[in-house]
């Protein structure tokens, strides 16, 4: 049987408290109008065939540009138009609005977590590109 040091038991208890706090906060966050609207807007975009079609065309032109296929200027022009079309879609505009509201909510939540913890939470929680 593995013997646990006093320091290890304390650390485990603290981490369990954090896990419980994460669970509680997640539940409250999921019930907020802002996050519910954001998740609904994301689902609406997934289900919007016009938006998905535009995204597919955008990816095709981006691929062509990346691999220098055909005339790059033609692809750039097409991309510009497709992006404008995408931005004009009601479901995309609704998504941006919902995203902004969710952003404002989480910024306020993060400020509270950071002040209480004594360290900036989200600012220091960003994973590096290389898994650090």
């Amino acid at each position: 049987m593995e013997v646990t040091t006093m320091a290890e038991t304390t650390m485990t208890l603290h981490e369990a408290e954090v896990s419980q706090a994460v669970r509680s906060l997640s539940m409250v966050l999921r019930a907020t109008p802002e996050l519910r609207a954001f998740l609904k807007a994301a689902q609406a975009i997934e289900a919007d065939t016009t938006v998905q079609g535009l995204l597919r065309q955008i990816r095709t032109h981006q691929f062509a540009l990346q691999w220098s296929q055909d005339n790059p200027a033609d692809h750039s022009t097409a991309l510009k138009k497709l992006r404008a079309d995408l931005e004009a879609q009601p479901s995309v505009q609704a998504y941006y609005q919902a995203e902004q509201a969710a952003h404002e909510l989480l910024q306020a939540v993060d400020a509270l977590i950071s002040t209480t913890a004594g360290v900036d939470f989200a600012a220091n929680a960003k994973r590096s590109c290389c898994g650090g």
Partner: protein
């Protein structure tokens, strides 16, 4: 943004529990020791000031003089080898790694990318 009482309490509870973890305590202790040492604090301040200045000028398209670049590397070497700064940097890397795990957990359970949404400008 006005938060509901329930949300405030949940956010504060997470902040409070984070503050008691080994990773956060070790980082805060290391940062306090650094700030309490005038030599270390001054070295770090000079390094950060020089770094921000050079970065801003470089991003503005200015070609930096070799002497300035050399000064930067010399000061960085001094800062990195200072025991209190090295200790704080190590503690900071540990706390960042831990906070990233907690944020990932929060993202998975809430259904949104917490770190990106809380930081986005």
């Amino acid at each position: 943004m006005i938060l509901s009482e329930e949300l405030k309490q949940a956010a504060q509870a997470l902040g409070q529990s984070l503050s008691t973890t080994d990773a956060v305590q070790t980082y805060l202790d290391a940062q306090s020791r650094l700030q309490a040492d005038p030599q270390a604090a001054s070295l770090e301040e000079r390094f950060q000031k020089l770094y921000q200045d050079l970065l801003a000028r470089q991003q503005a398209g200015e070609q930096l003089a070799q002497a300035e670049v050399d000064e930067f590397y010399t000061l960085r070497s001094q800062a990195q080898s200072h025991p209190l700064i090295a200790e704080r940097d190590f503690a900071l890397s540990q706390v960042k790694s831990y906070l990233a795990e907690v944020a990932l957990d929060l993202s998975q359970q809430s259904g949104v990318d917490y770190t990106t949404l809380a930081r986005a400008t």
